[in-house]
């Protein structure tokens, strides 16, 4: 053997090929279809898994090394934050509503992403995507855990965090929006999972979630969130390249894959955009110090960046999803419509809402010159008037939910922002309601899937959402109170308006103690 040749240092690409591709083999004692039973049922044709290009070439030794370095830094900041009452450095405690939504609605998704990528990392017959998916799987458990750890400190001092990343995601009516999104993806096959989460969510949408929002956290003095957010984003760059590589790979393998992939892109772009409307309220309403409007974030991270992406995918025959035209209209409206709904339902929520003050409404007017003053300022003015009379308005029923995205029916017709949009489909003799053409289209394509949706509001009215041992015939039985108890919400402290809340009072008292001598 020529030992000299072996001493030549191997390049990154060559070394990585030996360390991953070289490990796999074609099984002969067990048939391929039994070893990889989920590889073909979705109709995606793959002829040569070796054509897969690994964008980041991390071996486990480097993975451990760099990830451990990130973890040491992250936990050093979290420890310092806890030791120094870092929570008193935020601009205002109402900012924490955004963070409560994050812990109860986003962190559980990170966890499901971890399990789903573990499945993808087992199910693809190609070793390249398997290793990349497994690294994403372990990163996602990191994200769930670092978020819980970062926000644990807020839980010690503020209301609305105490259910953690458990319980509420399965039960609360507004959290079924993000939950059903991930349930939808995980209950599909591995290829659709990759388009749903790997491509649409990670590549197209995650920047919209993390980057402006984390800048917002930095702007509002929340070092705990900034730290986990940016640290998670450093993994995200790897995940985005995986999603992009995956879609290219599917399209290059066989022309028959194009219509399937296009259908999934259309579906998941719309599903993702609907989920992100929650983020639109964070940017436009929940941050006391604002970084950019939802509309601006949308333009930078979706229209410009997504535009470049779809230009690139055009060579494979991929078209920009039709729903994007609707989004161009919606970006002027969605945060306002959704925040109005949240404001009038926060007596059934685990976080505080508030009516925007005069200065905030001026900011919204400037950012939304076409819509805010015309459609939304008058409605906030009216709510403010009632609140000033001590009659803060709350809707006394729970809202009807869209059968697909599960957001309350609150968004308006594409051509009339004063008219709520309803769509109806019939399946097996039953009527189902959706909130938009996008959701109706998704429903009509797979009705047998979407009729299974566990719509929390329906379930509440059917009496399925009370703590064990509840007697609904008892005198003075209050179904809403029992539902909230079942959701681990203590309404007196967790929900309602921020004005007059114990969070507001405690924050003022503690901050006073921290900045004054008396």
């Amino acid at each position: 053997m020529d030992m000299k040749a072996t001493k030549k240092k191997l390049g990154l690409k060559e070394k990585y090929a030996h360390m991953t591709r070289g490990l796999d083999w074609e099984t002969t004692y067990q048939p391929k279809e039994k070893v990889f039973p989920q590889a073909t049922f979705e109709g995606i044709k793959v002829h040569d898994w070796d054509k897969w290009e690994d964008p980041f070439r991390l071996t486990m030794d480097s993975y451990w090394k760099y990830q451990a370095e990130k973890e040491r830094k992250l936990y050093a900041v979290l420890d310092a934050f806890a030791q120094n009452n870092g929570h008193l450095g935020i601009t205002d405690a109402r900012y924490l509503s955004a963070i409560k939504l994050f812990l109860t609605g986003i962190s559980p998704l990170e966890y499901v992403a971890h399990r789903g990528f573990a499945a993808a990392g087992r199910n693809f017959p190609g070793v390249g995507p398997r290793v990349a998916c497994l690294m994403q799987s372990i990163d996602e458990v990191r994200h769930a855990q670092t978020q819980i750890h970062a926000l644990s400190n807020y839980n010690k001092f503020y209301e609305g965090f105490h259910a953690g990343a458990s319980h509420q995601i399965e039960r609360l009516w507004y959290l079924s929006v993000p939950k059903s999104f991930f349930d939808d993806a995980f209950s599909a096959g591995p290829f659709e999972w990759m388009i749903a989460i790997g491509f649409s969510f990670e590549y197209v949408l995650t920047n919209l979630l993390f980057v402006p929002f984390m800048s917002g956290a930095a702007y509002n003095g929340d070092m705990a969130t900034v730290t986990f957010g940016f640290s998670a984003q450093s993994d995200e760059a790897r995940h985005m390249t995986l999603g992009l590589e995956c879609i290219k790979f599917m399209l290059e393998q066989d022309p028959d894959n194009l219509p399937i992939v296009q259908k999934w892109i259309d579906k998941w772009a719309w599903r993702g955009i609907r989920v992100l409307s929650l983020v639109s309220t964070m940017l436009d309403y929940m941050l006391p110090k604002r970084v950019m409007s939802w509309k601006e974030a949308w333009e930078i991270y979706f229209e410009q960046n997504g535009g470049a992406l779809f230009n690139d995918l055009a060579k494979y025959g991929i078209k920009v999803p039709e729903c994007i035209a609707q989004c161009t209209v919606d970006k002027e409206h969605q945060s306002h419509q959704l925040w109005l709904t949240l404001c009038t339902h926060s007596h059934a929520m685990g976080l505080h809402t508030w009516l925007p003050n005069a200065e905030e409404m001026d900011w919204l007017s400037a950012k939304y010159p076409n819509t805010f003053d015309k459609y939304y300022r008058p409605r906030f003015d009216q709510l403010r008037e009632l609140a000033d009379k001590g009659e803060r308005f709350y809707a006394n029923t729970l809202p009807m939910l869209c059968q697909v995205c599960q957001i309350p029916m609150l968004f308006t017709e594409p051509d009339d922002p004063t008219k709520i949009c309803y769509r109806e489909s019939e399946f097996q003799g039953e009527k189902y309601h959706t909130c938009s053409d996008g959701c109706k289209h998704i429903f009509d394509d797979e009705p047998e899937k979407y009729i299974q949706a566990w719509l929390p509001v329906h379930q509440v009215y059917m009496g399925n959402c009370w703590p064990e041992g509840t007697d609904p015939t008892a005198e003075g039985f209050n179904p809403l109170a029992k539902y909230l108890e079942w959701c681990h919400i203590d309404l007196a402290r967790d929900g309602g308006d921020y004005e007059g809340s114990s969070d507001q009072a405690n924050f003022a008292a503690w901050r006073g103690a921290a900045t004054q001598n008396t």
């Binding site: 053997m1 030992m3 191997l10 030996h18 360390m19 070289g22 490990l23 796999d24 083999w25 099984t27 004692y29 067990q30 070893v35 039973p37 049922f41 071996t59 486990m60 030794d61 451990w64 990830q67 451990a68 992250l74 120094n84 966890y111 971890h114 399990r115 789903g116 990392g121 087992r122 290793v131 497994l134 372990i138 458990v141 769930a144 855990q145 670092t146 819980i148 750890h149 644990s152 839980n155 010690k156 001092f157 105490h162 259910a163 953690g164 458990s166 399965e170 079924s176 059903s180 349930d183 939808d184 995980f186 209950s187 096959g189 899937k449 979407y450 299974q452 566990w454 681990h488 103690a513």
Partner: protein, 329 residues
Amino acid sequence: MQIDLRTVSIKPLRNTFDHLAERFGDKPASRYQEGSYNIQQESIFHYRPSWDADRVLFDKKRTQIQMKDWYALKDPRQFYYGAYTITRARQQDAAESSFDMIEERGLADLIPAEQKQIALDVLVPMRHAEWGGNMGNSYISAYGYGTVITQACLYHAMDHLGVAQYLTRIGLVLGGPEALDTAKAAWMDAALWQPMRQHVENLLVLEDWFEIFVAQNFVLEGLSYPMFYDYLDGDFSANGATAISMMTRFMAEWAGETGKWIDAQIKVAAAESPENKAVISEWVQRYRGLTLAALAPLAQRSFGDKADEVIAEVTAEFNARCAKLGLAV
């Protein structure tokens, strides 16, 4: 001297999250507890999986083993992601300096030819079996129940990939890229490797995730790691091939650490009910026989006429471990 930190003392409203207070009482929870308990969703799922329409996404019925509380299967190492990566990064540092030293000083050239050949024939092809270990543990992480065991299995899956990559580096150090090709050919076709490859492939089609845990983590690792990284390693050191031992230190240390975690899972699951104990014991008996048959030719190649003796000792140690865990084997 008293240092005034100028921090305000504020009494927390609560110490931890509801589900942890219910489980452990209202006291500050560890990062392991916060990051592990109850973070898997339990009962409400929107859609039936297209790949398993009779069950829900996270379903307790994907194994014959039944537990009243799946979170009883906790990890004695208390590994959450941060603790796990920081531990492995430390071990990797030590391994890296061993490899550096061997590569820089050309220590591989000093290994006696016979010992080097044993490593090339027996250790390097095992990287494929390690990749099988990765697949089994990824499966558990995806389809198992309860974060305390599913997260640990993902760490275990990544560790198997890490071990496969260390074995790859050993191949590169000892014989360059050609050594990897030779090992792959042996894994695919040589008589020496066929029983092991067949056994590993058979584990890839199991559907009961706890059965995979028993067959792969408890039995296959429980018999092969002592044989390779204890007995064979002892022979390497005794015969002037310390350089090989330096390159397998990670594996030896890892087997000790992960063995404690695996034992804790088996012990708790078996103690839960007579049914669990019977099922696990039956699996152990079945896979012990199959694993020993797969290891026999490799023992022959490694130890020559001492092979039966080594196998007997490894088996006796394994049986003692089973007895300690309350299994009837």
